[in-house]
């Protein structure tokens, strides 16, 4: 067993902890990378202390967790680092968009009413997604048996689509017997006068 000087020891522990894909315990370090060397507990502790100090004011820290030593990026950059691994969620389904459209144009509306118009069941997943995104929330309960929730769009929804009010929703092509567009006028006025 050879001797290793303090400076080399620090570098070796640093390299080992860096390349390991899990935290490395003192024993693991000693039985692997340090196995060719004679290292006293004092020397080891000195090296760990040096490393901790060296990384005290950097973007990553040399830390000890339950199962050993590890490098960890500092908390200060948590937000920036989350930009590094953004996952793209898949596009929304037609079912979701239609549900959202119905809530936007016909709020407040119950899930049952949405289902009735669409002719198919609306999955709970869709309602959850819309609420998680804070585009839709429950604004009350309809006084019919079962007291179903009444859904409406939110301010977040308007903000997302850069709308100041629902009156700014695109006019729909006139469908016979359904002149929704006409009904938008009073709101226009109220929005303007506001």
């Amino acid at each position: 067993m050879e001797n290793i000087d303090d400076k080399q020891l620090v570098k070796l522990i640093e390299a080992a902890v860096f390349v390991a894909d899990k935290p490395l315990s003192k024993n693991q370090i000693k039985s692997t990378v340090l196995s060719p060397y004679k290292v006293s507990p004092q020397q080891f502790n000195r090296a760990v202390k040096t490393l901790t100090d060296d990384y005290a004011d950097r973007g990553v820290a040399f830390i000890e967790v339950a199962s050993g030593y590890r490098f960890q990026a500092i908390d200060a950059f948590a937000n920036e680092l989350s930009l590094l691994f953004q996952e793209k969620a898949p596009r929304y389904s037609r079912a979701l968009l239609e549900t959202l459209a119905l809530i936007a144009y016909k709020q407040p509306i119950t899930r049952g009413e949405i289902e009735e118009i669409r002719g198919v069941a609306v999955s709970s997943h869709i309602m959850k997604t819309l609420q998680d995104r804070e585009w839709v929330n429950v604004v009350g309960h309809k006084e019919v048996p079962g007291r179903p929730s009444l859904y409406a769009t939110t301010k977040t929804f308007l903000d997302y689509f850069s709308l100041t009010s629902l009156a700014q929703l695109p006019e729909l092509m006139s469908v016979p017997e359904m002149k929704l567009a006409d009904d938008l006028t009073p709101i226009k006025e109220s929005a303007d006068s506001a």
């Binding site: 860096f18 953004q86 002719g119 709101i187």
Partner: protein, 264 residues
Amino acid sequence: MSDMIQQELPLAFVRGEAVIEKPQDLFIPPDALEVILESFEGPLDLLLYLIRKQKFDILDLPIAPISVQYMQYVEVMKDFNMELAAEYLVMAAILAEIKSRLLLPKQVVADEEIDPRAELVRRLQEYEVYKQAAENIDELPRLERDTYTGDALMPEAYKIKIQLPEVDLNELAFAMQNVLKRSEAFEHHHIQREALSTRERMALVLSQLQQANNQQLDFVYLFDVNEGRAGVVVSFLAILELLKESLIKCIQTNAFGSISVKLA
């Protein structure tokens, strides 16, 4: 030890004749020979080995001795039942051809004459370049052997960010349009004319009441005078509609007293 055995056993058969004598400069026990032969990367590699072994220059390419040795190796390979790649036999033929052309009397009009060895020399040279390049690449420091990468943990406070899908406003309108078109097909689903403005206000009133934690709100609070008459009318209609649908309750404790509104 193995040398003694080699003395007695024919090393190989060349054209049916037993070769007892070891090929020149080939002092390798037979089983080791097999390993060595397998380690050649083809005829060019073997030729290079023979040339270098005898400290020849490629440019000298002494065809006669090299061909003899080459054939001996090839016969040994055959003898060991090694799967002899066709390339080795092709090379044997090339060597034989060069040799025979070299033996022909040299033509006097030598101007344009190409040395029969030229093509083989060129190939040997080229092969040697890349054989060397491969060795150099093997010596480059590389991951998993000489260098290691790793990474650090994400910060404690890190949260994975999911980029939510983008939706275009037109998509929304298009979706609505589709729903409406489809619902027309269901004749029994007669959709009534909706006063959208009132509907929106209904939602607003409900959410205001909800934000009040289901406590009652003053009736007046639900109106915004800044919206003007149209706004007040819409709000009033919304409240009436909500009352009709039993979504809210209006409470008036004494006559002409203030009216409060709460969720039903």
